[in-house]
């Protein structure tokens, strides 16, 4: 692979006529742009941004629906040496006031020079959005046509300049902007391309992943751009409403690579009617990579078993461990090994009680299984540490620390958070895992982050909304993510204390109000709400609700929730 100085040089080197992005709406409605056309449109967007005063180093927020215009705006900003960031497009369920407050917070933290929206951006979501004086709101497409633009010189971008900012969680209030340099992104892509043996002339990517997450942005946009590889993409919402489209697109476009979070490996086979499977052909896929949630062998096996009949190769299913703070992947399973990745069975009691992995035979009573996330990419190191920070050996579970040549510069404008996250060059991931024979296994998260259908949600955000209900005792709410094996993802269970015992008479009404408040605030649905009398939630010595103790009490009293301990 050629070494480029920056991401724009990599795009400039792509063959003119090769297709780059195909935006798929339906079988009879799609648009493909070649690398030359993509460059032309991105340059047009660069011109529009430049006319509005955007220059090198300025932050630009891109708030557009998934598609080619959002991507050319993002790259157009980078062409000027500016630093773009994708944010999630407003979800119709979210209350406009909440959305505006979140947006104002993020743009203020980035001190963005411009916020670019599309022509159909819902007015009510903007209203009186309090953007600071130096932030301009631009409507894409309202500027000049790219063809009318005069040529203008683009700045030279250095490898150590910031390329863009990735946001690590969906809830805007607490968002951390992960700042990445061109050099770091290019080094990650070089390692990943090598591990996956990517050939831009023969490979192509299928994606439904949102561009504001690392999987969508890095694996399915930057990697194809730098490796000169086509990508066929649809919007995440289209996919979730009709996962059958994945089978249709892969069959028709003969895509060879795709990334998905764990739940998708169950969602697709269970939500596409069996009578339609035979219409499709998945033989073109050489790597379908499970990443972002702890990888579960059962989910991958389900996908494999169902789709082997329509050509899915036995060695196509792969895994990786990735995070925005490292641009993307830390590990990747071996794409040439059949029936990868490795699965280990371990004694359940020793795992829970002593955080030790003691291998046992597959299927032994009480055993737990872990699926490997693969081996480290080149120039990557991982250290597993105990709560006291001591380095642990193979088979001991602890927090995963990462050091690499593509680690982030820090959380944008948040030196406080950066200092907590990177200590002596090691990034503290907050994930729990262990190493065994040179492979990394991720077993869960140390931090209280919920991953609902691949989306990161902070439980504090849910608790704050529920605690705001007049009948609920503020601060006596716990939101938990519990794994639902049928869905292959976590779902939200909330326990809340009412102010007065007699409020429980109106439980149904309160529950309904809480449900709609959470959806309006965060765009996610709570699966189960359990209202409890005062003093039910276990408190810590500091008087705050104690999460893990409450979780245990809840699971004990509600076996019907059917939760893994």
């Amino acid at each position: 692979m050629i070494r480029f100085r920056n991401l724009i040089d990599a795009l400039d080197a792509a063959p003119d006529e090769r297709p780059f992005v195909t935006a798929w709406i339906d079988e009879d409605e799609r648009e493909t742009v070649t690398f030359a056309e993509f460059r032309r449109r991105a340059r047009g967007q660069a011109g529009v941004l430049r006319d509005h005063g955007v220059t090198a180093g300025d932050r630009v927020v891109v708030l557009m629906p998934q598609g080619i215009p959002a991507m050319t705006t993002f790259v157009g900003a980078m062409m000027l040496g500016a630093v773009p960031a994708f944010l999630a497009y407003p979800n119709f369920k979210v209350e406009p006031a909440k959305y505006r407050a979140g947006l104002a917070g993020v743009t203020a933290n980035l001190s963005a020079k411009a916020v670019v929206i599309d022509e159909r951006f819902p007015e009510e979501m903007l209203g009186h959005v309090s953007l600071s004086d130096e932030t301009k709101l631009l409507r894409a497409g309202a500027g000049k046509e790219p063809g009318d633009l005069k040529e203008f010189p683009l700045p030279t971008i250095q490898a150590d300049s910031l390329a863009f900012i990735q946001h690590s969680a969906g809830t805007t209030g607490l968002q951390k902007g992960v700042a990445l340099t061109h050099g770091a992104v290019l080094r990650q892509i070089e390692h990943l391309a090598q591990a996956l043996k990517i050939d831009g002339a023969t490979d192509s990517v299928y994606s439904w992943l949102p561009l504001y997450h690392d999987m969508g942005l890095i694996a399915c946009f930057m990697l194809p751009m730098v490796c000169h590889m086509p990508v066929v993409m649809q919007s995440p919402l289209d996919w979730v409403m009709q996962p059958e489209a994945m089978l249709q697109i892969v069959s028709e476009c003969k895509c060879t690579l795709a990334w998905m979070p764990n739940f998708a490996f169950q969602f697709v086979p269970r939500r596409v009617p069996q009578s339609r499977w035979a219409q499709y052909d998945l033989s073109s896929i050489r790597a379908l990579i499970n990443c972002s949630e702890p990888v579960r062998a059962s989910s991958m096996l389900e996908f494999q078993n169902v789709f082997a009949a329509i050509g899915l190769r036995s060695h196509a299913l792969q895994s990786c461990y990735a995070m925005a703070e490292n641009v993307f992947a830390v590990t990747q399973s071996d794409v040439y090994r059949p029936f990868a990745p490795t699965v280990i069975w371990a004694d359940g009691q020793r795992f829970r009680g002593a955080h030790q992995i003691v291998p046992v035979k597959e299927g032994t009573a009480g055993a737990v299984s872990f699926t490997s996330s693969g081996r480290l990419l080149p120039n990557h190191e991982v250290r597993i540490v105990s709560d006291s920070g001591a380095a642990l050996g193979d088979g001991s579970v602890g927090e995963i620390l990462v050091k690499s040549d593509c680690l982030f510069e820090g959380y944008y404008n948040r030196p406080d958070l950066t200092a907590q996250a990177i200590v002596d060059g090691w990034y503290h991931t907050g994930d729990l895992g262990f190493s065994q024979d040179g492979e990394l296994y991720v077993v869960g998260r140390k931090k209280d982050l919920l991953i609902i259908g691949g989306e990161n949600i902070y439980p504090q955000d849910i608790e704050e909304i529920i605690g705001g209900h007049p009948a609920i005792h503020d601060g006596r709410v716990i939101a938990l993510g519990v794994y639902n094996p049928d869905l292959g993802t976590e779902e939200i269970i909330a326990v809340a204390e009412v102010e007065r015992q007699e409020d429980l008479v109106h439980a149904m009404e309160i529950e309904r109000e809480i449900r709609s408040r959470v959806v309006a605030g965060l765009g996610v649905a709570v699966r189960t709400i359990l209202l409890k009398p005062p003093k039910w939630i276990v408190k810590s010595t500091a008087g705050k609700a104690a999460r893990s103790a409450t979780r245990e009490k809840l699971l004990q009293q509600h076996p019907e929730l059917n939760v893994e301990p």
């Binding site: 709406i25 979800n91 119709f92 369920k93 919402l237 409403m241 869905l487 149904m508 649905a525």
Partner: protein, 83 residues
């Protein structure tokens, strides 16, 4: 109400399994938190079954699926005959 709309309501009641909740043609489902986005696929499949049409998700927004009445209007607008 049409028989199809009635059948859709029965399907939704089964899907959400929340005793005491009544669903009518204009009850908000997605915006009220009764249905999460991962359940939209079931509604779209059922809608395809009931209308005997193919409904491309690329032409449907979740807000078009927020009530039973809107679902059938959406099917009318973007549905295509099954191959």
């Amino acid at each position: 109400m049409t028989t199809e709309a009635q059948q859709m309501i029965e399907h939704i009641v089964q899907l959400i399994r929340k005793p005491g909740v009544t669903i009518e043609e204009n009850t908000p489902l997605v915006s009220s938190g009764l249905i999460d986005s991962m359940a939209l696929v079931d509604l779209l499949l059922k809608l395809e079954d009931l209308t005997h049409m193919r409904i491309p998700a690329g032409k449907v927004q979740p807000k078009d699926m927020d009530t039973v009445a809107k679902m059938f209007a959406t099917a009318q607008r973007v549905g295509k005959p099954r191959k």
